[in-house]
Symmetry: C2
Subunit: 711 residues, 2 copies
């Protein structure tokens, strides 16, 4: 391969080397919640290969708190991705998942993530990426996943601050404890094949030339150094280092900095345009080029790109795309991801045999189809809106109110038995643009208030982004509120299945629902999570903000549950003993070691969950830790374990295993070191807390992870 | 008609009165630059009635400075609108034109207007509306035009300020001099059939219940009181008075206030929902309902709505829609509206017989189609992008660069003879949302700068909204810049016709192009036009802001012109004599009377325009007044007349008649009174000024129009 041929391969839209039979390859595939539209994915206009299963958006997936489901989604997506690749319609690498924690409710791409909590984000990564890649370190990869955006990327466009040039100022403590945790999971533990560096700078250095992030942390501290571990830039991110960050004097210095920092492929055209002259100027060595290409093509080799047709995954075809099983999974994910926020008993509606009702259907999303998908979607075989779904429900007559008709007149005239209002904020969240409000339009509030005066049961289905539902919670004539986010191709069916009681809701909020004025208290550009009276920052996420409209982890059921902790035999633990008990043959890192309060041979903590009501239902057991330990300020609480239990029948109990690790008991000091601290701890079960178990850690602090310091 | 039947007719989607044979009618038609998509316009999906001629957006029309063209467009649109009505596919009233002056470059709907200058706006109204309505007070109306949005509406959504609840604080002086001038033209002079009241409040009172605006000014001072003169609300604007302005305690008081203020029809559902109970409560009288319905149906009667098939306009059919003539007009408007901003001689390209060139085509709008239309568009028979148009040009080979390819590599490799970059700002202007920047993206600037290093002629076609072109003007390797706005269905063809020299550009800027940092100096919510050192407001529009990147009225040609004023015989004029000379048999209002400096029997001022170059071209004669007269601060200058001259051949001259009126010489005092002041005046011809004529007015001030004062 000549130098010139190598230089041609340095961007996403690679021409290959025809002379050597190396085919062209577009590294840009997308598959966030199903194989999606992207330059490297070729859907046909109709017929075969014109669609793929379109699962709910990540934020709705996350609300299920179901690890096995995350894995199943990843596995199902990669099956379809492989089929597309076999038809020469896509590559073998996909730029999913999006794992920046959802820091601020205005973020235009928060919907792409599994929410605000790093523990949930890490569980999501471990399960989803393992499903996508076909294992934790499989041979071959089923597909190559790409964890993005590395790092501290969570601002699009806000009051003149633009993602292309934004400089995220992050403390070392919160960099380690929050912003980097998802990437540690990807790189160190789940062994993701690829990482994408982001547009923004972190503490003054653009992410795609940030040697502290890339060398010291990612490749150094986490040892993400397999032959096939490559980094791609976000699209135009290398160019943005010149145009927006003004980090380098020349374009040649810019591309050289990215390559020398270990960014292996440019989504853009700066590399092939300016690396030739950078090489001529001596700004890069040919060996750096070789290193990048070796990583990239090692990735493709490990994904079986050059393997013959009889090798794994090569037999998948169009018959394996959007199968009834895959679409059934899409429905199940949506059903598991719908959160019940308020209910006076109106929901579920009476069963078919007892109802003969007229339902008034109103609101802007009653016939939503593509809106149900959210962004980074692909074409779906079908898209089922709530209205379409209701037409298949027996014993419900519909009155449908379209915009600019008067729902009130129609409702009065027709004596509807109940009202279902389905809508989302009119200010769409979008890539490139953050939201300016987190409230319903006054016209929407007015519509609901008008409907609420009619004296009929009124159900609000809150779709899409979080907006403050206070007005609905405080209005006694709003009977029920559900939040369904972006429930995907069969999202309307899932919503109606929950409302009619075909499925009982058990999801929990993967984010905080903030009050309207929250966004006036803290700038989007303020990356700090901890409250700061001097700047007015009231704190971010449930760990640091205590005035939520709806708390992270909240969610109601159609029945009642009681929870009881099976109290461990001990309640005081010596830190040295905990550390000594860790089996390093099983766990590579001490933070992964289980906390076993009843002894080394026992399981971790378990809770008994009993359905005391009359409806069978799933239940998500959630456990938080709160306490007096480690540096101040201390978080209000932190999620440390969850398990979704399935189909608990009335009067029955099930046991949830809470797999608490030593890492979950740790805190991070100002230098980002992860430390086990002596102090008093409480385990809090459920939201709001139903039951607690207090214990203490004694002895000396133990340094679990010494964080590399910035220079 | 029963009261209940009357109440049903109070909103845009009127059910009619079937019992009496009164058909349903949707008042909501749109036709801003061609019959457009709207609830009251029914296009079919394909075949006949599936499209209409789609003219350039208003801002591009305005750049032509061609009064006859505005009339021709209005006349052509109303012909197609009538054809649609004859097919029972639309009503006879249309909510066009949008005439709020373009106050701030961020405004999301500025493109819908003819720009920032009230004189241009008034000429546009007088010609376009007369074309739409079929005359100044015709019988029947061809269609009913609706001047919107009354008044001081020019903010969508900006930093939490929302059009639905925005309170525009406007001085009486600028209300009279600027914000109300277009509506005076519509109501008092052009006799428009209908007016739309706006979302915002003006000085604390919502526009749709603002009796000062509606009663004192519109119906009182301007005597807009014909039987058929009705007011419609903007859509949901009545509801917004309750939900966003919180102007009334109850919904019944809200609808009563609108009806009693003289708003005759609600675009929304508040009227039919709450007027019944408002009537029962005694908040409205049935006579107020009658008054509204009489106005509305008088309008339809005057439009011949109930007339038999043999009456005027009833014979128009699908054969009269999107005819070659109409589409030819759409092309001509676009050609007349393209402004040449920079040219080193690269443009026009060599004539076909002399060229055999390769053109590199780059930028995000090279294949723009629907984007060429701008908002409030309808479906068009065809949409011709620049790329499509270039394929029909002889002796030009194309190299087309798509996104994420490297234009530089391609250009170097292929040795293109010239480069054409076609793009618009990525931050689209939109209804409901104002822009946050008035600059090109750094990536766009970078693309042009890269292309500029190649040493080939580089032409920039700046499309869409104004953004600061300084970087292109200051770069000596950017050869030429044109601004084409939104040039409509054949916009790509028009652009290429200008670039290849098939048509010579002669348009002028209808707005100021502001420098990038302008928007950081003044809030969108600051309605003041005059500079204010205390708030930092640097002044708005060319009348008050003197640091433009491109001045209002600027525009280059492919040839050179000289201009000479035919100096009037006098240069000093007694105000009383000017007033006495006015022929009130001809002119209803003194501000309309011509200023005849060479005597009562002469024409107004004329200028000779000579083409001293080698290319035939149109030329827009522009005349401004500047001077020391009237209250301080004084505007830098004010446009008082223009005339577009056609096809001035090299070496030839033509004469432009500048129809200056006494109104054009007036100023407005702090109370909004229009006054003729003694003082020194200068007539300035062209931009930048080429020639001037100084004169003075002597004697006493003369009150031309005493403005009604707010209570």
């Amino acid at each position: 391969m000549t130098v010139s041929e190598k230089l041609n391969l340095t961007h996403n839209n690679s021409p290959g080397v025809p002379r050597l039979g190396l085919p062209s390859y577009n590294w840009w595939g997308e598959a966030l919640h199903g194989v999606a539209s992207a330059p490297g994915v070729n859907f046909s206009d109709s017929g075969d290969w014109s669609y793929a299963t379109s699962y709910p958006q990540a934020i709705t997936m996350a609300a299920s708190f179901d690890d096995d489901l995350y894995y199943a989604i990843g596995n199902a997506i990669s099956t379809e991705a492989r089929a597309y690749n076999n038809a020469n319609r896509s590559g073998l690498d996909y730029w999913t998942p999006d794992i920046n924690p959802f820091r601020d409710p205005r973020w235009g791409r928060g919907q792409e993530t599994p929410g605000e909590d790093t523990y949930v984000v890490k569980r999501y990564i471990d399960n989803l990426v393992t499903g996508l890649q076909g294992g934790r370190n499989p041979e071959p990869y089923k597909i190559i996943a790409t964890c993005k955006h590395f790092a501290a990327y969570d601002l699009e466009g806000w009051q003149g601050n633009n993602r292309y040039g934004f400089n995220a100022i992050v403390t070392t403590q919160e960099l380690s404890e929050f912003y980097m945790q998802p990437f540690q999971q990807c790189a160190r533990d789940t062994k993701v094949g690829s990482i994408m560096c982001s547009y923004n700078a972190v503490n003054g250095v653009p992410a795609c030339a940030n040697s502290y992030n890339i060398d010291s942390i990612l490749r150094g501290h986490w040892n993400w150094t397999a032959d096939e571990n490559y980094i791609t830039s976000d699209c135009t991110a290398i160019q943005n280092m010149f145009t927006d960050h003004h980090a380098f004097d020349t374009r040649q210095q810019t591309v050289a900095a990215a390559l020398n920092s270990g960014v292996d492929v440019d989504c853009g055209f700066y590399n092939p345009t300016y690396l030739p002259s950078a090489l001529a100027m001596g700004l890069i060595q040919e060996s750096a080029l070789d290193r990048a290409l070796l990583r990239l093509y090692s990735g493709l080799i490990k994904a079986g790109y050059f393997d013959p047709p009889d090798t794994p995954w090569r037999s998948l075809t169009w018959e394996n795309v959007s199968t009834p099983e895959a679409e059934g999974l899409a429905l199940k994910v949506a059903e598991e991801g719908i959160v019940l926020l308020k209910n006076d008993g109106t929901l579920p509606l009476a069963p078919p045999e007892d109802r003969n009702m007229t339902l008034l259907l109103a609101g802007g999303w009653i016939n939503a189809t593509t809106q149900l998908q959210g962004n980074y979607a692909g074409p779906a075989r079908t898209l089922i809106s709530p209205w379409m779904a209701l037409q298949n429900v027996s014993n419900i007559e519909l009155i449908v109110v379209q915009w600019y008709e008067s729902p009130m007149i129609r409702a009065i005239d027709t004596q509807a038995d109940a009202i279902l209002w389905i809508d989302a904020t009119n200010e769409a969240a979008a890539e490139g643009e953050d939201r300016n409000t987190i409230q319903w339009d006054n016209l929407q509030i007015d519509a609901v208030e008008m409907l609420a005066t009619l004296g009929r049961p009124l159900i609000v289905a809150h779709m899409g982004e979080q907006v403050d539902d206070s007005a609905f919670f405080s209005n006694p004539n709003v009977s029920s509120v559900v939040w369904a986010g972006y429930p995907g191709m069969l999202g309307g069916e899932a919503l109606i299945n929950v409302i009619t009681g075909k499925v009982a809701p058990a999801a929990r909020m993967p984010v905080t629902q903030y009050p309207v004025d929250y966004i006036h208290q803290v700038a989007m550009t303020d990356m700090n999570l901890r409250p700061n009276p001097q700047t007015g920052n009231p704190g971010r996420t449930y760990k640091w903000f205590d005035n939520a409209t709806v708390e992270f982890g909240y969610g109601l059921h159609y029945t009642n549950f009681t929870t009881a902790i099976n109290s461990p035999s001990n309640s005081s633990f010596d830190i040295n003993a905990l550390v000594s008990a860790c089996d390093f043959a099983t766990y590579s890192h001490i933070d992964q070691c289980p906390f076993r309060p009843s002894g080394a041979s026992s399981s971790s903590v378990t809770i008994n969950v009993t359905n005391t009501g009359t409806t069978g239902s799933d239940f998500v057991g959630l456990a938080f830790i709160s306490g007096e330990y480690g540096p101040t300020p201390r978080p209000l609480k932190s999620l440390v374990a969850y398990q979704r239990l399935f189909g608990i029948e009335p009067g029955s109990s099930q046991t949830a295993n809470l797999n608490i690790t030593l890492g979950s008991l740790s805190r991070y000091d100002e230098n980002g070191n992860q430390i086990l601290y002596p102090g008093s701890y409480s385990l809090l079960v459920d939201v709001p807390t139903q039951t607690t178990w207090d214990f203490e850690l004694t002895g000396s602090e133990y340094m679990m992870d010494e964080w590399p310091q910035p220079q």
